[in-house]
Symmetry: C2
Subunit: 129 residues, 2 copies
DNA sequence: AGCCTTACTTACTTTTTAGTAACAATCGTG
DNA sequence: CACGATTGTTACTAAAAAGTAAGTAAGGCT
């Protein structure tokens, strides 16, 4: 199953969906965007505390890539101990409703999905036996 | 940075956003849903050809998990060689607009993001030097 | 008898992603 | 003069995701 060699893409290779997924398919980016959307402006440690189980390393990595893409801004206060505050840029804010559209669907249909999964498992067991 | 022990979740642990990400953060699921949304009903090999660079294994895995969640249906035709056709269920179809909302944003802002990235790289080089 | 087809499955390897833990920088405080 | 506070970085490790390649089934065709 190889890439087709025509000039056009076969509905998938290098399509915009992939680029969005490559960017937001990671574990923390969308979570940080949503958090900053709800809380406004937060410092490094506050984001970590709100998320609860993110490591310092991944928080740094995630914030850097969001900053690099222009979705959040980073302000350093020259104090000791250091203080750094993050908030969504206009671009970041423009993304929020689209995330919430998706998570809204998730909330609405999560129960149905879990029930489907259970039913599927049962079907598998039956036919295996 | 540990999970907080209060009954409430700190805006993130076990929140719906994570469940959606856990489900659709993989490389192929959303792609398959979008494809079936556009093409209607497709057989296994056709999906593979349209996507272009998915392995048989990952296509099977992806289709199984989508089926298990009730997002797609699977019909086996008892022929030889075998024929199996997939299409979105009502639940799967209900997800499509939300995906397209997100990818629409991606298309609209991808250039800006790429430019931001470039500008960020340059800033890094300057201050490192 | 051997090859073709399609839709898988399985075992194994590689790649990617994330976690852990220790260290750096810097100044105020006890 | 060690310690704490905060925001990181770095090296190393573990785990998850994905890729590769070979095998399976079952009947039709030559």
């Amino acid at each position: 199953m190889k890439e087709n060699s025509s000039g056009k893409f076969s509905a998938a290779v290098n399509c915009p969906i992939r680029q969005v997924l490559d960017r937001f398919g990671d574990k923390w980016s969308i979570l940080v965007v949503e958090l900053l959307s709800g809380k406004g402006r937060l410092r490094f440690s506050e984001i970590g505390q709100h998320i609860g189980d993110i490591s310092q390393k991944m928080l740094t990595v995630t914030l850097r890539s969001l900053e690099s893409d222009g979705l959040i801004s980073r302000e350093i206060f020259p104090e000791i101990p250091p203080r750094v505050e993050y908030e969504l840029t206009a671009l970041g804010k423009s993304l929020v409703p689209h995330i919430e559209s998706l998570t809204g669907w998730g909330v609405e249909h999560l129960d149905a999905i879990l029930q489907n999964r259970k039913a599927y498992e049962l079907r598998q067991k039956k036919t295996t036996y």
